[in-house]
């Protein structure tokens, strides 16, 4: 697991802006309900993420993980309740969307995409100064993509794309980092390198939340976990949260929620079938 340590060392050495430990943001979710078009996807969530905490957001498909992340980021307006951020102004949250939400066929170079991580310095119109370019090169080196500035993003593999997106997060130098399924369809070597980066951010005191599916990875690398099934099933130290009993409860709650929606009730006694169908069909 620790074979890739060198890259973590490189990361901390190339982040001069974070030399004094960054003050991580605190996230408070107060009676938060989020959803799309009046259909709530997560209900009445109450939770507090400590400054500097490293939390994995886990749960079955359709449990509202990505929705919750987008709610914290501010993309979705709460139906009830609120998200209270302390120490992270709007625009100073590093948000990594799911890879599928990014148009990788757009004619853009690696440096053009990664430089958007300096938006808080350049704004919509400002240019990239020499130190910005230097930081960009350093960030690419830190994710193992040194010298790829001029490559087209269309020519990158999924793993390389995720690496440069992590470089963008590095440049954002944000107190709160939100990662939506950063390791979906990414090979083991890349995953290990990027996990080391996350460790480095954690060590610097940033607050990090990542949506993940690999429970073994969560147990091994993430101190905290939040188990979601349209509401919080458990939140706390990973080992305790990811118990068999909690995971079974999460599945049962999601199945019950799916069965409660009117259009999947017509099958009658074949109880497992509608639940499975509905859960699979949610596809967050």
């Amino acid at each position: 697991m620790n074979a890739q340590r060198p890259s973590a060392a490189r990361v901390s050495s190339v982040a001069p802006t974070a030399a004094p430990p960054t003050q991580g943001a605190e996230v408070a979710l107060c009676n938060l309900t989020l959803g799309h078009d009046r259909h709530p996807a997560v209900h009445h969530v109450e939770a507090r993420l400590e400054p500097g905490s490293l939390t994995a957001l886990v749960g079955p498909n359709g449990s509202g993980k990505s929705t919750l992340l987008r709610g914290i980021m501010g993309e979705l307006r709460p139906m009830t309740g609120q998200v209270v951020l302390q120490g992270a102004a709007r625009g100073r949250i590093a948000y990594l969307p799911q890879l599928s939400r990014i148009d990788r066929s757009f004619p853009l170079t690696v440096s053009e995409l990664v430089a958007s991580g300096l938006w808080h310095l350049t704004g919509i119109f400002g240019g990239l100064r020499a130190d910005g370019r230097a930081r960009l090169s350093e960030a690419l080196a830190a994710v193992g993509m040194a010298g790829s500035e001029a490559r087209s993003i269309a020519a990158l593999s999924g793993g390389q794309m995720q690496r440069i997106l992590f470089a963008r997060v590095l440049l954002q130098d944000a107190p709160l980092i939100l990662l939506d399924e950063p390791f979906a369809a990414i090979d083991e070597r890349t995953t290990d390198d990027l996990l080391d980066l996350i460790d480095a951010w954690h060590a610097e005191g940033r607050t990090v939340v990542a949506v993940l599916h690999d429970l073994d990875m969560v147990r091994a690398r993430f101190p905290n976990a939040m188990l979601l099934a349209r509401e919080i099933v458990a939140h706390g130290p990973s080992g305790a949260v990811l118990s068999e009993a909690n995971l079974a409860r999460a599945r049962a709650r999601l199945a019950a929620a799916a069965q409660a929606t009117p259009d999947v009730c017509e099958i009658g006694e074949a109880a497992p079938a509608p639940a499975l169908r509905a859960v699979g069909g949610e596809g967050l």
Partner: protein
Amino acid sequence: MGALLHELFLQPFAEFGFMRRALVGVTAIALGSVPVGVFLMLRRMSLTGDAMAHAILPGAAVGFLVAGLSLPAMTIGGLVAGMMVAVAAGFVARSTLLLEDASLAAFYLISLALGVLIVSLRGSNVDLMHVLFGTVLALDNAALLLLASISTITLLALAFLYRAMVMECVDPAFLGSVSRSSAVAHYGFLLLAVLNLVGGFHALGTLMAVGMMILPAAAARFWATRLHTIIAVAIGIALASGYGGLLLSYHFDLPSGPAIILTTGLAYLASMVVGRVSSLRAHLFPPRHLAA
């Protein structure tokens, strides 16, 4: 030889003011419409552009019904109708995900029928032809001023919103997380598209205006791989096609709007066959050496 070349390529413009005006008009349309078209294409909104272009027709037709062939009335009518459809299309795209292309097709069929009906209520077939196919050879000062203003506004707005528009295409969720410019970029872009379609409508007609947006952009994709080079190549193709189309229409006595769009279409087909980037030629005869 020199005299022949002069007669073929320059004399029509030297001799006739309406040809010069047409060239100025086409140039203005190319400068404004083409960059908008490149973004439309890259956002996979070519069909939306088509729907907006058609939607302008009933709006302009209402203007025609009220005031005859009046530039301001038809412009305002077209703008209002185009914006309504642009917003409605966005709404439809969000709420009925699966039916987006069918909804857009429905929009523009209804708009076209309604527009033709309204124009026919008051005008003649000649008026209808004006509205459908434009009057690039009869652009007066007011029309030229309108076209030039629209392309000036477009270029200035694009210069200002460029970065936000690029991110809105590539990674809209990220843009939303770092900036509030997302909505401005989105609706500003739609407004620019409608403005340029209304401008193009006066010269090329409602059916052809969108051709000047989409065809040069699609052709340029076969030549360039960077966004700014795609835009530059597309503008070059549009200018050359505008000039070539006007010459063709002059020498062979063809209707000019269709001649211009057909020339652009030929440029597109030729680019598809022999272009540098993923063209037919590149597929059939892959370069043996490493292309830089």
